[in-house]
């Protein structure tokens, strides 16, 4: 109990004094997971919309695969990305392992199926006649996509939140492909693991609290956007 209170006090101190190391760790978390989320939104929403609107043999299998991907264990993704980025691996020449970019790649692989899966469900949940109506009014394919995405914006924003929440909080892939290197690839989750391993529980609690606050802040922003214009 004493440790918990100590940790909370330490967290407040680190936040109030804008501790430089904690600040840089927090910013890196935000950059890596933010960029990964953006990429996964592009991939997931684009792919998800296309998949939801098309019809072809094997679509069910593909959608099932995407839905399975929503539960991809981060450590497994981390392992495969590490093997691919090894110097002796197929993409070793890129020299990306133990860089923030490697973390972005791994987190993008984790978040994309989440965004895609929710997108597919959201688009398929729209009234089927809507699509015909939009097309009847002379919309191009791109305009159709944009209008449908707009109609489904509530669940789609939830998709972004789920994707971001999935990657900002994961530690398995981040520690494997990033290596938790001080000043380079140390993010909030990996730093929390390390500090608790070192026995610095008050700092670990502090980092955990900052992570929670960060998640809350981002999700609050997204929720505000989501609720701006309630569909009537």
């Amino acid at each position: 109990m004493e440790l918990l209170i100590q940790g909370i006090i330490e967290a407040l101190r680190l936040i109030v004094t804008l501790d430089r190391e904690v600040l840089s760790i927090t910013l890196l978390s935000l950059k890596v997971s933010g960029l990964a989320t953006i990429l996964s939104v592009l991939l997931g929403m684009g792919g998800g919309t296309a998949l939801a609107l098309s019809d072809f043999p094997g679509k069910r299998i593909l959608v099932s695969m995407v839905n399975t991907g929503m539960g991809l264990p981060p450590v497994v993704v981390g392992l495969f990305v590490t093997l691919c980025l090894w110097r002796s691996g197929p993409f070793g020449f890129l020299e990306l392992l133990y860089t923030p970019w490697a973390m972005v790649i791994a987190q993008c692989i984790i978040a994309s199926p989440i965004v895609m899966g929710i997108t597919i469900a959201a688009i398929q949940n729209l009234p089927p006649n809507l699509r015909l109506q939009i097309l009847a009014l002379g919309a191009s394919r791109l305009q159709l996509y944009l209008l449908l995405l707009r109609e489904a914006r509530l669940p789609l924003l939830a998709a972004i939140m789920a994707g971001f929440g999935g990657v900002i909080s994961e530690v398995g892939a981040a520690i494997m492909v990033g290596g938790n290197i001080k000043g380079q690839t140390r993010v909030l989750t990996t730093a929390t693991v390390m500090e608790s391993g070192k026995g610095n529980f008050h700092i670990a609690i502090a980092l955990g609290l900052i992570l929670l606050l960060l998640c809350f802040g981002i999700n609050y922003l997204l929720t505000v956007v989501q609720q701006l214009e309630r569909p009537r």
Binding site: V32, L35, N180, V225
Partner: protein
């Protein structure tokens, strides 16, 4: 379209902030090392100073000594700082490494609950202590991760002719030293640890030092450069530079003073230029 526009703006903003520039490849050194050097905080002291002095960027990956050598075998690391002498000799004999040099030492200790159910405190040797633990079936928490500490522990069990694998009182954490100490403390078990990790974590542990000060328990750290002739991508020059820094008077002085202010005693003793046989208590 207002919400969509707002999101796009937010996303663009994030992209603008998110542009970590990668450094030139030849300036990067990958150091595979043990959890004890990271958990104690030693590397956090040494690496920034070396980077400032040399312009290299050191990426230290804290894994067990076993995994560090596996990375070295495949050329996935440039330099190893490890403490598993027998495995290191095999690594060198197979030609995977060059220039193995003694850096520093501390010692292993056997820690356990202060109540000491197996009565090992005051045991004449580590082997006597291990026999007592096995005979009383007291919980022993092993690293179980092929680290240098795990290798030493297996060597000690072998020395007393006991195979603890599969015994009920023998549990493997599969974690780093810091976390394993935490497990041992919570479960009131015994474990083998390097003194540095123990001192660094002591304040949060309910564990006491029960056996120490035996030549067999010496914990010796060597630096090994991964053979750059085997792997074209290995940064041989960078590895040599960091190894030389560790062994320089400056690096050795930093190692000698590390931890004195915080723990009242040094965590590591510098040994540049010495022979391992000359070390002792």
């Amino acid at each position: 379209m207002r919400p969509l526009a707002t999101i796009t703006l937010l996303l663009l903003l994030l992209i603008a902030v998110a542009s970590p520039a990668p450094a030139a490849p030849s300036k990067i050194i990958i150091l595979a090392t043990t959890t004890s050097t990271q958990d104690s905080g030693l590397l956090d002291l040494l690496i920034p100073l070396f980077e400032k002095e040399s312009g290299y960027l050191v990426k230290s990956i804290a894994v067990g000594s076993g995994q560090a050598m596996k990375l070295g075998e495949r050329g996935e690391a440039d330099l190893l700082l490890v403490h598993s002498p027998d495995a290191e000799k095999k690594f060198m004999a197979a030609g995977f490494g060059v220039n193995r040099r003694l850096v520093m030492h501390n010692d292993f200790i056997i820690v356990g609950p202060p109540a000491d159910p197996a009565r090992i405190k005051g045991a004449k040797s580590s082997s006597a202590a291990f026999k007592l633990i096995a005979a009383t079936g007291s919980l022993f928490v092993s690293r179980g991760d092929n680290s240098g500490t795990h290798a030493k522990e297996k060597e000690l069990w072998k020395g007393v002719g006991i195979n603890p694998e599969g015994e009920k009182w023998y549990q493997q954490s599969g974690l780093g030293m810091g976390q394993t100490l935490g497990v041992a403390s919570e479960k009131r078990g015994y474990t083998l640890t390097d003194r540095g990790s123990y001192l660094a974590m002591k304040k949060n542990l309910g564990l006491a030092i029960l056996v120490e000060g035996e030549p067999l328990l010496l914990n010796v750290y060597h630096v090994i450069q991964v053979n750059p002739h085997l792997w074209p991508r290995v940064n041989g020059a960078g590895a040599l530079a960091f190894a030389d820094f560790l062994l320089s008077p400056k690096g050795q002085g930093l190692i000698a003073r590390f931890g004195v202010d915080r723990y009242g005693a040094p965590l590591f003793f510098p040994d540049a230029g010495k022979k391992p046989e000359s070390l002792g208590f």
